[in-house]
Structures are given as C-alpha cells and as structure tokens.
Amino acid sequence: MANRIVVDPITRIEGHLRVEAEIKDGKIVDAYSSGTMVRGIEIILKGRDPRDAWAFTERVCGVCTTVHALASVRTVENALDITVPPNAEMIRNMMFCAQYMQDHVVHFYHLHALDWVDLVSALKADPAETARIAQSISDWPKSSSGYFSDLKNRLLKFVESGQLGIFANGYWGHKAYKLTPEVNLIGVAHYLEALEWQKEIVKVHTIFGGKNPHPNYLVGGVPCAINIDENNALNSERLAYVGKLLNDAKTFIEQVYIPDLMTVASYYKNWTAIGGGLKNYMSYGDLPVNGFADVANFKIPRGIILGRNLSEVLPVDGTDPEQIQEYISHSYYEYNGGDGLGKHPWEGETNLNYTGPVPPYEYLNVEGKYSWLKTPRWKGNAMEVGPLARMLVGYASGRDEFKDIVGWALKTLDVPVDALFSTLGRTASRGLETKLISGWALEFYNTLLSNIKNGDSRTFNPDKWEPETWPEQAKGVGLSEAPRGSLAHWIVIKNKMINNYQLVVPSTWNGSPRDANGQRSAYEAALLGTPVDDPEKPLEILRTIHSFDPCIACAVHLYDEKGTYVHQINTF
C-alpha cells in the first residue's frame, strides 16, 4: 500500500507549489504537482494599450524579471510588423544574458545548493584542507586558509546563537548528503559570495532599463538613447560600466559557478540515473543576431526532440493551431465544448471553475481537477522545457559550441551522454549554458560598440509607434526562451486595443497536471522512481523539483471574459 505525502509549501522556488507523492518501498510511485495561487493578469490586460502590455506581463514574475517584458514586446512587434534597430537587438540580448547569469547563479547557490550542501557539516571542515581543495579546482582568489577559517568561525557563531533563521529545520545530517565537510564549507562560502555578486550583474538592467527588478522595455526598440557626446545618454562611461559588469560576470561564472558545479556533481553521480522523466524536449530558440526573423542564426537554436532521439530535430511553429494547445482536464477551468478539448492560445478560452476542496484542506482531489496550471501540449505530446532541453536541442542540431561544452562536461565527470536525462543532467545543463551565455554577452557588447563606432546610434523604430499606423485587426506571437524554458505570448489586437492576450510559460509546460489522456507533465514524470528516505524530510523530492527551477507565479493565470467570477469583482 502506497503512502501519500504532501510537500506544501515547496520552498526555495518562486511562487506557490504543492507536491503530493505516493511512496512505496522508499520510492515515489506516483506524484501530483499543483499550483495553488492565481491572480488573473490576462483578463486585466483586455482593453488596454498593446504598448503597455510589457509592463503588466513583466509583473507576472519578479525572479525571471524582464523575460515576460521581452516576450511581450516581441509579440506586439510581430502583430504590428515592427523591426527593431540592430542596437536595440544587442541591448535586449545583453539584458537577456544578464538575467540568465543572475538567475542561474542564484538558482544554483540560493535555491538549489542546500539540496546538496550540508551547512552543519561545514562546521567540521579543516580550513587548510578547504583552501587546498579550493585552489586545486579554481584560480578564484578568495581561497586562503585564513579566509575559510574566518568564515567557519562566523558560521559557528551563527549556529551557536540558536537563531538559525532560514537555515532552521533544514535537513542537515540527512544521509543523502555526500559532500565532505571541506566541500560543504566551499559551498557555504560561495553561497555568501554569490549573494553579493548577483546584485552587481543586474546593474546591466539598471543602465539600460533604469532599475532591477522590473527594468523598462519599449515596443519598437529600447528606451535608452545612445549619444557618446552627451552626459544624459548612453555614453562611453555607461558603456564601459556594462563592459566591466559583463567581464566580471564571466570571471565569476568560470572561476566559481562552473568549478563548484562540477565538484558537487562528481559526488552525486548516482543522480544521473534519477529524475529523467519525460523523453521529449522543446526549445523555441533565442538570442537573435541578425533580426528576429532570422531564426537560423539564433544563438540558441529552435527545435523539438521526441523520444530522446538526438539524431533528429523537428520544427516548432507558434502560429500553427495544431501544434501548441492547452488542456484543462485537471485544471480548475472549464471549456465551452467540453473539458477534453485542446485550444490554441489565439482561440484560447478559460472559465474559472474551482472544484477543489475548501481550504483548509489536507489532500487534493487528484482524480478531478487539482491545479491552477493548465496543461500545454505540442501535437499532443508532453514536453520538457528549460536548460536541459536547450542544451539537447543545441547538441542535436550539431552546434559546435553546444557539442564542445556538453562533451567537456561528460568527459570531466566520466559519464555517458544518457546521463543528461536526469536530475543532475538538468542541474548541470543550467551551468553549462550559463558559461556559453557569459561569452555571448561580450560578443553582443562588442557588436554594439562597433555599430556605434560605425555611426549607427539608433535604438528605436518610430514608424509604427502611433496607433493611427496600425491595422484594424492584428494577431501576433512572441516566442522566447526564459531561463526556465520556452515562453510565448499570444495577442489579438482589435480597435487599437488588446482583445485577447495569453501566456504559455515554462513552468506551465513543466509543472502542469496530467492531460485528458493521463499523460504526466515533466515534474510529475520526473518524480517517478525518486527515492524518499524520510517522508518528513523529503530532500530527494526537492532535488528533482528544484532541478527544474520552478517559477509558479508565471505558470498560473486565468483569462476569461465570461466566467462568473467576473461579475463578483465589481464590488471591490
């Protein structure tokens, strides 16, 4: 008889996620993933100016801030047939890269590391031995015996205070922790250093977009003007600042993140056999270098892999009504025409219909509807999206940069290519792509500088700014890759206003409930077979769920013009 455990809240993620898992003989035999919060951003967008949509959708998520803003301006530009100037493309790309670097580093150290690093064990570390290990894996200068000794004392004092704060009730001493005290101490040191570093790289957003989180975007380009002979615009001082931030980020990623990732991974190679889950992977591709229409030259390629067949990459089209569809068989919504239908986002329709238990509740009714996330499918297939999917699509597409870095990682860890299809493969892919991105960011930076040098300072295309220039009706889609995976927005514009606006986001692909055919999505599939040693300390569940870097605020949204709830809101 299986034993049902509930993990709610899943912490060290963005948003509100609940997992119910059935455990038999120490392993998960079934799992249910549920988003437990809704806000209703899409209905709020109806009737508004399409040029404002980026600001609303950006507030869908403050962790992967900017990615919805970028998807949104692309969607509106697609609908209105706007091409942005090359400088705007480079600046957007640099903001994209800054986001990836910050987000992935924060994920590794602050959201995921404590699944692998035992804080309390670090108290037993020998500082001299820690320094020896640190110096053997990296040239990072903060690696002296004195440095680790001071850190250990600070940690000791903190633990002895009895006020453990965010570290209280952690799963310290759990037998699934495998790192030596010294490696744990390195992990703690870099937890703190990364916390300090992450506030630097986001300054790229502040320079180009005025603030972070939630920098400013603009339909038709970017808001910052370039004028190298003016104090009040992007000039040589501002550009040099960006250059320094990008160079420092590359150093941190190469000297801290990647060595730590590979060292930690070498202790947990058994996790290359756990948490594989789905066998289908999707990437919309991103980082254009020759205009958004030239998909073939994206730095991150677009494509689909089915059944882990790395010898074939299939095309994906966001405008084809038969390809991407959303289902609601197990989501708290209802469809006109029956809950078993799948609907393309342009025709998407969602009537809110909460049928779950009344709070406070103990268990969800997993036979019925059990999540606020809808269930997206590509031609009926469940797809995994995110760093692993991007790495596999790049690898299978034969891109040298992807093949080289994947090959290097597999060789370093001495594991076969199949090792990628796992919890650890997902976590490793995130680091590997961060390394690629840290290099590309500097390419974009240099392209921007040479454009300016050659006399092109344009950052905005004003041709279609005024609504008078727009057609009566338009439809658009903006495909992009957020740090957590494939993200797209769909818009229908009528009478110069938003008539319909829909988002299908990475954590919806990965974290959704099962579809009408009972097919699991990525989280639920990946949890099958995951061992759980102590149901009260479900460390292993966190490892697999965190390997996806869930971001649930994005994933949950409702958007309907007719639902009964709409009539209730007028009292507020």
């Binding site: 709610d8 809240p9 899943i10 060290r12 993620i13 948003g15 509100h16 919060m37 806000r39 209703g40 709020i44 508004r48 100016d49 040029r51 609303f56 507030r59 403050g62 962790v63 801030t65 404590l114 205070s161 006020q163 453990l164 704060g165 965010i166 570290f167 209280a168 009730n169 952690g170 992450q198 506030k199 300054k203 502040t206 977009g209 005025g210 972070n212 989180p213 939630h214 400013n216 603009l218 808001p223 910052c224 003007a225 370039i226 009040n232 708290y332 909460y354 238990p357 709070p359 406070p360 509740y361 103990e362 950052t459 905005f460 004003p462 300390k537 409702l558 709409v566 809101i569 507020f572």
Partner: protein, 363 residues
Amino acid sequence: MSSKPKTVYEEITEKGYSRRDFLKFCGMMAAYLGLESSAVGQIAKALETKERLPVLWMHFQECTCCSESFLRSSHPIVADVILDKISLNYTETLMAPAGFQAEKSLHDTLDKYKGKYLLVVEGSVPTENPAYCTIAGKSALDIIRETAEGATAVIAWGNCASAGCVQAADPNPTGAKPVHEILHGIPIISVQGCPPIAAVMAGVIVYLLTFDRIPQLDSLGRPEAFYSRRVHDTCYRRPNYDAGLFVESFDDENARKGFCLYKMGCRGPVTYNSCGVIRWNNGVSYPIQSGHPCLGCAEANFWDNGPFYQHLPKFHGFGIEATADKVGLGVGIVAGAGLIAHAITTNIAKRREITLGKTEDEK
C-alpha cells in the same frame, strides 16, 4: 564562545569596560531619555538580553520581485542582514526546509516569539475565493490573520501588499486586497514601489533595529524618510521641464540630449518615491535617467492611470492639456502653474485614498 549573538553588554565588556561602566552608561541613557532612575535596571536588562529580531516573511499573491529587490541591498548587504541583524525565520524563497519542516519553522516562531516578531508581507490577499491562494492547504486570508496575531508590527512590502498592484488592476478578478484592508489595530509600514528600491527596504529594517521604533509615516503609511518627495521634484532632468525642453519621441534628438520625459507619459509629477535621490541598484541609475518615463509604480492604482505613454494632462481630473502644450513651446512661467495643478491633483488622489481606507475600516 558565546552561545548567543552578542548583546550590547557583551560588546561593551569585550571592549574592556566593566559592569560598573555599563551601568553608568545605562544611567546616562535613562537621563537622556528623561526616565526615572528605576528605569536604569530595565534598560540594562534590555541591552543585555536582546536577541536578533525574529522576522516572518509571508508570500501571497506576488511575483517575488520584492524578495529579489531585497537581495540587491548593498548597504547593508543582505548576507549581513540575514546572518547578523535579523533572524529571518520564514521566507519560502530562501528557507532551507520545505513542507512540514517549513511549517514547523513558522509555528516555532509564532509560539516562541509571540508579541516579539516582525511580520513582513509580500503580495496581496485574494478575497473572492479562499482557494485563489493557499499554502499548506490554508488560505492566504487565514494565514495573514494567524501570523499577524502575535506580531509587533507589519511591513507591507511593495505595491501588492500596500495597494494590491497589478492583480488589483481593473477588473481585479480575484478580489486582491492590500494588507491595510485586511488587518486592523496593528502598525503597518507601507514600503511602496514595484518593487521598492533595495536600499529603501534595507533602510526601513535598519531604522527599526537601530532606533527601536516605527519610522515616521505619512498618511498612507509610507515612511517619510523615503516617500516625502515626488520623483519630479528630485529628478536630475527637472531643469529641462522648467525650461520647456521635452522629448517628443523615443530616440529623437531631444531624447539623445536627455530632455524631460513628461510628454512621453512620465508619472514623476504624481509619484512619491526615492528614485531621484537614492536611485536603483546602489545608485546606478533610475528609469528616467535610462530614458524611460516613470510608470508611477510607488502609487496606488498606477496600473489604471494609463495608458502609460499618454502624458498626464490628458487624464481625467487634470484638465490642463492646453497648459502642458504651452509648456512644450517654452512658456516657462506656465510650468509653475502646471506643477501646482499636479500637486493639487496628487493631493486629491491621496485624499480619495484615505477616504477609501476609512470606508474599509468602517466595514
């Protein structure tokens, strides 16, 4: 080694002072504060035994941008805040445990520090249906009431907790409400913005810890230290406004000279925040400096004061369209009149806010 964080007494004795010096110091403090000599013992006790302030950080309908912004704090850096200054006992974003053990961290604090912990709230609370936001099977509404019960004060982080933010924008499908419409009879500090500036968030925490009191608040519950000036009045582009020099289109010649963004829809004239003074991400820039008009994200209902790129006088309630266009032509003296009009409108908007708040209270 001490088994507790250092108290003031320990700090002083470690520096070589005696207990006698310490009590003299307490006596002086009592005199400064105008207390009876019997209070000396009390002060001494407080300083000897003060633990790090326990903090519960609750997440409801939010996007986590407030947490992310807090992580950007540079003075003090956030590692020092969470290791040395406060005891952050619950925050879903960063805490090590999950599920059952996370709930334990929450309930340990509720029991052990009743009447002593600070509650900080990120996100609004849906009121249309309790199932619109649940954690561990419990509704946000139940959780906020339970956690506020034994709190000394509440910090409402950001626009969501202070005013409902984007999910409360028309038509507010989930009935999202800010903290002050849910909790009564407890001090609420509204730290506005979407998100608030990191330095302001840290500044509010440091204020509480250093001065041991709630900061001076304005009529909307915002700390005056950070929300008493309009972005417009502290904007480095302000002289362009006064001189009638405006950006007419993004990336035009005027944009490249850094002229005023008023005509592009800037909400600086009706927004109270520290963007122009403290700026963002350790003083690097702020939206206007980077060429985009202020969206007004530190004001209630800013989402419904749009469209964002329409300049202010076109809005209902301003009626000074003609004035602003004259300003554009360089009639400097009219700029003053325009500003007064903005100020009046802002005050009217604020008064409406206060009245609304009262109505809610009466309910």
